[in-house]
């Protein structure tokens, strides 16, 4: 993953920048130029709350090379109160406890290292609440 590609995505990976369609009210994350629900092009920028609920999940036992050291690890689709949905790893817990309905907070964490240079790439991970 070359650096410009990583840098370009900072708004959503660092700040959870999303967009609310002025036509249908739907929230897209990351922001887009055309609404996938109504094809509207007028948006209001919003930032997703750093919390949400697990929609569905899995525990990855056989991971990609870059993540195999962390296996087994939990992955989940999380929905924030604004209705934005994102794919995140869920950590600091038993992976098998990450099931649909679980409340998580979204914390800023190291996600992966980029290429041979080992540039650190950040983003959000879920952590169970309470």
């Amino acid at each position: 993953m070359p650096s410009p590609r990583y840098w370009r995505e900072k708004a959503n990976r660092f700040h959870l920048e999303a967009a609310r369609c002025q036509g249908c009210g739907g929230v897209t994350f990351p922001a887009r130029t055309i609404c996938p629900a109504c094809r509207g092009t007028e948006f209001e920028t919003l930032y997703l709350s750093r919390k949400g609920k697990v929609v569905t999940s899995t525990v990855v036992h056989v991971g990609p090379n870059e993540f195999q050291m962390e296996a087994p690890y939990a992955m989940a689709v999380v929905e924030t109160p604004e209705g934005g949905r994102l794919m995140v790893q869920v950590v600091d817990c038993e992976p098998s406890d990450v099931l649909p309905g679980l409340e998580v907070s979204l914390e800023f964490r190291l996600i992966r290292r980029e290429g041979h240079g080992g540039i650190l790439c950040y983003g959000h991970k879920g952590v169970p609440v309470g």
Binding site: M75, M87, Q89, R112, C121
Partner: protein
């Protein structure tokens, strides 16, 4: 629009075929299709292939394959839609002949997966790189998430998933082209190693090499090639949101539903008319979701279809009589064309111990990514 028929077919066995390269696999299947129809030329070649570029560093497969078939000069191109590449090539070949643009099209699919590429990463390139793969999800992981959502919505169990593998291995054990010609038990599936919860190794299709090819021509020219053509009567393609997070119901494959509806409408048939079907069982949960979305079983009833025998040979609607992707193997770009060959042979009465007696109308459903693309074809024996 002209009526279109399949008049010839050829395929390699599926499996780890170390002695054959990407081009060798293609040539074996393509030459087989041409010779089975007694054809010495074609107007157009379409090569379904997911990722020659990542698997073996080879792009530009249209001219490469035409050249190696001794047909340099013929129009040729590669068609890509991840694991639905083969089915998508068939759709495009169908359109080319139906429209009158060309008369004969060789539709092939090929994939060489065991030459040392990082298969997990290559397959993950069919998912959303920026919002899914970046965070560490794998392809089995996405289907595992679909499975959990299906379990939560419909009460599907791990044992239901296991039955899909048991059924397809039972069928595949009878297929000389299949990668795994052995039966498995529910216990063996449930004890196999975990890949992505709740999916275990024996819920997953394997990594495979292989190629498959069919020859298409206008129905009114079919007798030049064979006395048993099979008519293509419907074709439907649809797409869905690429990322799982962007689908309202992760347990429902909307592209499969839409592509099926389009194919049924074109063919003028309903799901009840289908007598044999090949559906995209890359993971056991995929067969369950595809059966529901295609209307072959009712929504929410897919989970019990394998265990009850409804979708086995001898059941109400035999599904994946070839062994499916699970047992026959899944060289991704070849799969959609191999599905068509299974139904072609069934409708010609050539399937031996896997024959569905009296089958006249069949269906294939081929899917890309975690369900972001789907292609459905409907066939009728002539």
């Amino acid at each position: 629009m002209r009526e279109v028929a399949i008049v010839g077919a050829g395929m390699t066995r599926f499996g780890e075929i170390w002695e054959s390269s990407l081009r060798d696999l293609f040539v074996e299947a393509a030459a087989g299709a041409l010779s089975s129809a007694g054809a010495d030329h074609v107007d157009h070649i379409l090569v379904g292939n997911m990722s020659g570029g990542q698997f073996v560093g080879q792009e530009h497969l249209g001219p490469l394959m035409a050249d190696h078939l001794g047909m340099a000069g013929v129009a040729a191109a590669r068609v890509e839609s991840a694991c639905a590449s083969g089915g998508m090539a068939l759709n495009m070949g169908f359109m080319a002949v139906a429209s009158g643009f060309v008369d004969t099209v060789l539709v092939a699919g090929v994939e060489k997966m065991t030459d040392g590429a990082d298969v997990t990463n290559v397959l993950a390139s069919a998912a959303d790189q920026e919002t899914e793969v970046y965070h560490g999800i794998t392809f089995p992981g996405l289907y595992a998430m679909i499975a959990r959502a299906h379990m939560a919505a419909h009460g599907t169990t791990e044992e239901d998933l296991a039955w899909v593998a048991v059924k397809n291995h039972k069928h595949g054990a009878m297929n000389p082209k299949a990668q795994f010609r052995s039966e498995v038990t529910v216990e063996q599936v449930l004890q196999s190693s975990m890949v992505a919860e709740p999916l275990r190794l024996l819920h997953c299709s394997p990594v495979s090499d292989g190629a498959a090819a069919v020859l298409l021509c206008p129905l009114d020219q079919a007798r030049n090639y064979t006395d048993r053509p099979v008519k293509l009567i419907g074709s439907g393609v649809a797409t869905d949101a690429m990322a799982l997070a962007d689908r309202k119901d992760p347990a429902f494959l909307a592209a499969v539903e839409k592509s099926s509806e389009r194919a049924y409408k074109m063919a003028g048939v309903t799901p009840k008319d289908i007598q044999v079907a090949e559906v995209h069982d890359c993971f056991a949960i995929a067969e369950i979701c595809c059966l529901e979305a295609s209307g072959l079983v009712e929504k929410g009833q897919g989970a019990k279809a394998a265990a009850s025998g409804e979708t086995s040979l001898g059941g109400r609607i035999p599904v994946n009589t070839s062994g499916g992707l699970k047992s026959k193997g899944h060289p991704v770009g070849a799969t959609g064309v191999a599905q068509a060959i299974e139904v072609f042979e069934q409708l010609r009465g050539e399937s031996g111990e896997r024959q569905v007696e009296g089958a006249r109308i069949g269906l294939t459903q081929n899917m890309g990514g975690s369900g972001a693309s789907s292609v459905v074809h409907i066939y009728q024996g002539v």
